[in-house]
Structures are given as structure tokens and as C-alpha cells.
Amino acid sequence: MRDENQLHAAVVELVALDNATIKYSTIQNWYPGDEEGRGGIYNFVTKRGKCLGKDSKISWTQVETGSAITWKYPGCILQGDNSIGEFYSVAVTNQRQQADTGTKMIHIGKNTRSTIVSKGISAGRGQNTYRGLVKILKGAEHARNYSQCDSMLIGDQCGAHTFPYIDVRNSTAIMEHEASTSKIGEDQIFYCKQRGLSAEDAVGMIVNGFCREVFKELPMEFAVEAQRLLGISLEGSVG
């Protein structure tokens, strides 16, 4: 017997010159495989961006709900002075899915700023990993980074893992890192049900609220689609 999996290996490169802004939004819902983890897409993607010009900005937003395995680390090289890099991510794993995703923010220029907001939701036997690097080079005077990595667990057979690497070579840098892991609460679900919502709508609402900071970065139509997809991938995760 042999397993069937398809490979998706895309490469995306962005370059932003002086004063340019690029916003790149992705919603991914490839086939995740069946309940036992047979089949599904291997989603191995290279995405990198270079803020080459002064005052340039690159913003990555991603919603990953599909694929058997996702490996993906959209990054920004912040070379131009005052340039900005952003990474907003929602990754959902259910059944046997695995997502290993995060970002690299390389600060080279002066006054460069980066923001990282990552939301990982694990259900079923899903595994979710945030893996990220923030690197402040010697010449990056007054660089700033804000990172927030939140994980939510639904059920007791899933996992969340966080590997934030921080490498600072300039003492004027200001770094903020926040991380949280929470289990979706029985009391929260019950509260919603007591107001008439079904189990599925309750979970959908709580998870969507959890992802709010990322969804608000998406274009309107995308945000609606993302919420819908989230509901679909979490179907059957709570009784």
C-alpha cells in the first residue's frame, strides 16, 4: 500500500521601494487529508519580502485552514530606513493536520519596525507550531518589534508549540513579546448555548473572536470567507 499526497511548493518574493506599501493576503484551504491523516496536501511555501526603500512597508496576512502539513515562514528584510514589516497569521489544525508556520523579521535599517500577531488553533489531533525569528542587526538603530503569539486548544489530544527566536545586536532596540495558551472553556461554550447558540456556532464565535486581531487586517470579503472556512475546518471538533 502507498499513501497519496500532493506537493504544493510555491515561491513568492516581494520587493518594496521608497514609500511603497505591499499587502499580501492569503487564505489557504487545500485538502487536509482524512480523519486518519491519509492523503492531503503538503504545503511547503517560500515567501519572502524585502523592504529595500526608505519608508517602505510589507504586510503579510495569512489564514491557513487546509493542507495535511504546512511549512511556511513569510519574512521581511527591513533594509530601508523607517521601513515596516508585518505578519498576521491564523493557523487552524484539526484531525491529523500539522502546521508549522511563523515569520522572520530581519532589521537592518534605522528606525525599522515589525509587528507579529500569530493565532494558532488546534483541535482533534492537530498540531500547531509557531516558529519565528526577530533579528536586530548592529546598524539597526532604534528598531522596534512587537510580537504576540496566542494558542487555543480545543479538546485534549491536540498540541500547540511556540519557538520564538530573538537575536538583538543593537542596544537601542525595543522588543515586546507576549504569548498565551488557552483551552477553549466549557463555561464559555455553555454561556453561548444558554443564550440559544448551537455548539458549533458557539465554538465558531469564540474562535472568531480569538482571531479578531488578524481578521481585521484582511480585506472585507476575505474576512467573511475566512470566518466561514474556520467554521468548516472546526466542524465536529466539539460535541
Binding site: 455553555f190 454561556y191 448555548k193 444558554q194 440559544g196 464565535m205 473572536g209
Partner: protein, 260 residues
């Protein structure tokens, strides 16, 4: 009580035993509530008042070992929590939870629409819903800024209680069980909440007020007062009983119960 006898029961609890984490908390509760009535349930801390509210709502942490609960003649305990809510049972929680990232307005509209759908009514759009909400907000003394805040997140204790009452006003349940909604409120907030509850009284709905304090009962006169002690209703009476409890505390009842 001739009139009472004629009206059939909205809620009929018989010999209810319930436990949590293997410990029996309710040990044979009997209670009958008819449409139009207000019942106060009082009793010392830990006597099982919240447990009763949670069991009626259908919280999964509590198991019922014995007894029955009929709501409008239907077996309430056999119904899923969301169906109990849709049929008109509302619990205002002693400790309401927060839901981050979801606005009060969205939450309320989702709840209203889930219930409307259950009744075969058309769902309300955001604009239509807001129109209907305005009156209710005014009654509890809130401006619309509370609607765009996440559900109970960063709310003070008193604001959470008020939010429960707003939900009740919007959902218009048949049976409202208010679990210590009066605790932690200052005098003005208490008046507003009591006034709202009183305003919502109708001949076809009923209220069960779980409370620690006499003071809310000066605003909402109960038809019946019950004392829950150690998982049982050990004494029932009219509203004078509440005043007696205020003066004498609970010990005399517990002793009396032990003798009897």
C-alpha cells in the same frame, strides 16, 4: 391560593438530586413555579443555589442522579442547553464569562436570531436589530457604546450583571433565573436592575430570583420566598419570610430543619 391551583405549572421540579465532581449538592429539591409568579430563593453560601441554576440551564459539569424537571410539561432535563434557552429558559449567571473579540451587539443578535429561527421567525438584520435594541438599552441606562465592546471583557462586576439583564430584556424569556444578579451592585445600579426586572414581569412569564439580600426584594416583591439549605428547600413562605430572614439570619431555620 385558589387561583394558583387553576394555573398549570410552568416549572415543576420534583425531588431533584444533582452532583458535581462526585459530590451530591442538591439533595431533593421540590419547587413549582407558575406563570406570572416571582419566587425568591435565599440561603447561606454553598447551599446549592447556583448549582440549581446551572442544572436548570444544563451545564455539563453537573449530573442529575434523581428527580424530574418539567418545563411547560416537557422534560427539561432531556433537552440540550441550547434548546432549553430557545424554549424560553434564561439564566443570568452569578459569574458571567467574557468572550474576547466578539462585540456585545453581535453576540446579542446571534442569540436573538438563534431563538427566532427556532420559533420559525425571520432572522433580524443588523439595522433592524439595532432599532429594537434602543429601548432596552435606555431601560437599563446604557448608551450604545456598550454594544461595540467585547462581551463582558473588562466589564466591572456591576456592568456584567447589567449586561445579563440587558440580554434578558432582549431575549424576553418565559422563565428567568437570576443568580445573585443583585450582588456587587451599588444602590443606583440595583434600582435600575430591579426596575428592569419588574418592568419585564408579565402574566405569561415567571422569575426565580436567587439572592442573598433582602434589599432587592424591597424593589421586586416576590410571591414566594424559599430557603435552600444543604441542597434542600427547608422553608417556604410569602415575602414576610424574607424580612424574617433579614432579621434573624438562617441558623434558626437550619436548627428547625434538623429537629424536624
Amino acid at each position: 391560593m385558589g387561583e394558583r391551583g387553576r394555573k398549570h405549572a410552568m416549572l415543576e421540579i420534583k425531588n431533584l438530586h444533582a452532583s458535581v465532581e462526585g459530590r451530591e449538592i442538591l439533595r431533593g429539591v421540590d419547587l413549582t413555579v407558575r406563570a406570572g409568579e416571582v419566587h425568591a430563593i435565599m440561603g447561606p453560601n454553598g447551599s446549592g443555589k447556583s448549582t440549581l441554576a446551572q442544572v436548570l440551564g444544563g451545564h455539563p459539569a453537573y449530573t442529575v442522579a434523581e428527580g424530574s424537571v418539567l418545563f411547560e410539561g416537557k422534560d427539561l432535563l432531556a433537552m440540550k442547553p441550547e434548546d432549553r434557552a430557545r424554549e424560553g429558559v434564561f439564566v443570568a449567571f452569578q459569574y458571567p464569562v467574557a468572550i474576547r473579540g466578539i462585540t456585545n451587539a453581535y453576540f446579542l443578535r446571534s442569540a436573538v436570531n438563534a431563538i427566532r429561527k427556532h420559533r420559525g421567525e425571520e432572522e433580524l438584520g443588523p439595522v433592524e436589530f439595532m432599532d429594537r435594541l434602543e429601548d432596552k438599552l435606555r431601560v437599563i441606562g446604557w448608551d450604545s457604546s456598550y454594544l461595540s465592546r467585547p462581551v463582558n471583557e473588562g466589564f466591572s462586576g456591576g456592568e456584567k450583571k447589567r449586561n445579563e439583564i440587558l440580554q434578558m430584556a432582549v431575549l424576553e424569556p418565559k422563565l428567568a433565573i437570576l443568580d445573585e444578579t443583585d450582588s456587587g451592585l451599588d444602590i443606583d445600579a440595583l434600582k435600575t436592575v430591579a426596575h428592569t426586572v419588574d418592568k419585564l414581569r408579565r402574566p405569561d412569564n415567571a422569575t426565580v430570583l436567587v439572592t442573598h439580600y433582602y434589599r432587592i426584594l424591597t424593589h421586586i416583591a416576590p410571591d414566594f420566598v424559599h430557603v435552600l439549605s444543604d441542597g434542600r428547600i427547608v422553608k417556604s413562605g410569602g415575602k414576610d419570610l424574607a424580612l424574617e430572614l433579614e432579621e434573624k439570619g438562617y441558623d434558626w431555620i437550619r436548627e428547625g430543619a434538623a429537629v424536624a
